[in-house]
């Protein structure tokens, strides 16, 4: 045990001596969360809507109020004619415009049909689509309510319009998607990359030989290398969780304990991967390359952080199944946002646990045979 503590202390010293590494490890999660949160955002938030139409009309007034009262929308001004829309988009004073047809109220009352146009700024197609979709929802819900009110009057047929409502994330907040993604990415980077590099570094300098020739068992040497990164990733996990909850306002609807457990399983998977990479890499550069090209990039692309796995060709979907981060991210989404328990995340949890056990067994075995 004494031998083990001595090597763990040593590993911690290595990490804290290397100011640059520790800085990267501690600051990277914060920067990534903030970057993704504020710079890379396709969500509906503080959308400025310009309205065009007869504001004296009570039906129009009603809809405009509804838009203005919405949490994510605000009416930025009224236009006297639709031709002014181009101007407000160019001057960037509105993100979308709503144009009400002539005699909107009069047409609506007898037939339930009246013309309204929603115009989005297509120069940013993703955001425009998100905003127009959301606006449509807001206006249609008004329409449905109007129809319900009319329904009692007989003869008039209510026209059916589907109302799209997104559960768990009505405003399509992108933070709901990227927080689990960044969590997966950071934990994997810290655990896999840093562990593999730290083992390979000792291989390069020859000091690994010194440890191996000492009475400390190889398994303990490996474990003593993993523990500091386990601690480091726990700190990172807490940082991301706090930031995303209090700054990004991502809810934690499910059990925090379960979330931590899932993270632990994922961290073990990543550590085992790191060990495996350290066995096959002759030097630090190779280890970094394998981690970067072979792990980080596929994780970014195939774990569903950026592209939804469901819309990939089938072959790529199979490939995405072998990426541990994908399963972890699904679990995090289920627990944090849907608030489900262990039962509904059981499948993903099992897959992740099996991956962890398999990788750990393989990596320890190959580490041992490498020594012979």
């Amino acid at each position: 045990m004494k031998e083990f503590t001595a090597s763990v202390v040593k590993e911690f010293r290595h990490i804290f001596r290397d100011r640059r590494t520790i800085l990267i490890a501690m600051v990277m999660p914060v920067v990534q969360i903030i970057l993704f949160g504020f710079a890379v955002s396709t969500e509906v938030n503080d959308v400025r809507v310009a309205v065009c139409g007869d504001l004296a009309d009570p039906a129009v007034r009603n809809l405009v109020d509804r838009i203005d009262n919405n949490r994510y929308l605000s009416v930025s001004g009224s236009l006297s004619s639709p031709s002014e829309i181009t101007g407000v988009f160019r001057r960037n004073v509105a993100d979308a415009a709503v144009c009400f047809g002539r005699n909107f109220g009069e047409n609506l009352a007898p037939s339930g049909r009246a013309q309204v146009r929603i115009i989005g700024d297509g120069s940013d197609p993703n955001t425009a689509q998100m905003i127009t979709g959301y606006l449509k929802g807001v206006i249609q819900s008004e329409q449905t309510e109007a129809e319900v009110a009319f329904a009692g009057e007989g003869e008039r047929k209510a026209s059916m319009a589907p109302v799209v409502q997104l559960m768990y994330n009505p405003a399509m907040k992108s933070s709901y998607n990227f927080v689990p993604g960044v969590m997966g990415l950071i934990l994997m980077l810290i655990c896999t990359m840093m562990t593999s590099v730290s083992i390979v570094r000792e291989k390069e300098t020859g000091t690994l030989e010194l440890l191996l020739v000492s009475p400390v068992k190889p398994l303990w040497i490996i474990l003593s290398k993993m523990i500091p990164y386990l601690v480091l990733s726990a700190v990172n996990f807490a940082t991301i969780l706090l930031l995303s909850h209090y700054v990004m306002e991502v809810p934690i609807n499910g059990s925090l304990l379960l979330l931590c457990f899932a993270a632990l399983v994922f961290v073990v998977t990543s550590l085992a991967l790191g060990l495996l990479i350290s066995v096959i890499s002759p030097n630090q550069r190779t280890a970094l390359l394998i981690c970067g090209m072979g792990l980080t990039m596929p994780t970014m692309i195939f774990s569903g952080i950026i592209f939804p796995c469901e819309s990939m060709p089938e072959v790529l979907q199979w490939f995405s199944d072998i990426i541990p981060a994908k399963w972890f991210i699904i679990i995090v989404k289920k627990i944090m946002i849907q608030g489900t328990g262990l039962v509904s995340a059981a499948k993903e949890m099992t897959i992740l646990a099996v991956m962890a056990a398999f990788l750990l067994a393989v990596s320890i075995k190959s580490f041992r045979t490498r020594l012979q």
Partner: protein
């Protein structure tokens, strides 16, 4: 205690079709300085790894410090010291932290480590350098420190794998004084080297060629046997 420090019988190590160590047998007497010579790729390193308990032989048997090389690797590791040709300290740890670390992994108690640290720093006259990073020390000091640290648990045998690579003759001479000191105190020294003048300092030397031991005797006898003036000539005649 009249047993040999190292006894090796018919040791063979194969990697696939390649035979790195081919049926070698030799003894190292207690307290002697045993030079283990050979060209690169002659099988020195492989043989030494087996003796250090890092690798298992394909065939053959033997003991190191009285423990079986096939079955008691953990015990062997506890009773030997090892210093490699590469720098054997952690450059990003201070002198004192390096001593602590190796004291720790060789299972010394805290009090023993403290005593050893003081004694060692005193002996090397490095008291004022104890909080310096090992990486910033001059090469000569690093080697002395590495040697002392390899001896921290008072091993019966110390394995030195080309310990003096890349240092000037004066530093090498002082390093050999430390080796003699250790030998006088009863530690068996097993050393590989490229420098033939160093071979002269050994009590006995063995020369490996293509996985076999081509010659094994004291430097004087080898020189007279091969009719050479120095070990360099001896080595060249054997290897040729």
């Amino acid at each position: 205690m009249d047993r040999n420090a190292v006894e090796i019988r018919n040791l063979t190590k194969k990697f696939g079709d390649f035979t790195a160590v081919d049926n070698i047998s030799f003894n190292v007497r207690k307290g002697e300085i045993f030079g283990f010579l050979g060209a690169n790729g002659a099988g020195k390193t492989t043989a030494m790894r087996i003796l250090c308990g890092l690798s298992l032989p394909t065939a053959g048997e033997g003991t190191v410090a009285g423990y079986d090389i096939n079955t008691q690797q953990e015990k062997i590791k506890r009773h030997i010291g090892y210093m490699s040709q590469k720098f054997s300290l952690y450059p990003d740890l201070t002198v004192r932290e390096n001593i602590r670390l190796f004291g720790g992994i060789y299972g010394l108690r805290d009090r023993q480590i403290r005593e050893k640290t003081d004694a060692l720093l005193g002996m090397l006259e490095m008291q004022s350098e104890k909080d310096r990073f090992a990486g910033s020390l001059p090469l000569g000091w690093k080697q002395k420190l590495a040697f002392s640290i390899a001896m921290i648990h008072d091993p019966e045998i110390i394995f030195l794998d080309e310990p003096t690579g890349g240092v000037d003759p004066e530093t090498r001479r002082r390093f050999w004084e430390m080796i003699y000191d250790a030998s006088e105190k009863g530690t068996t020294v097993f050393v590989t080297t490229h420098y033939m003048d160093e071979a002269e300092y050994c009590d006995r030397v063995s020369v490996m060629v293509d996985g076999r031991i081509a010659a094994l005797d004291s430097p004087e006898r080898l020189k007279s046997e091969y009719g050479a003036d120095n070990m360099d000539e001896v080595f060249r005649i054997i290897v040729r």
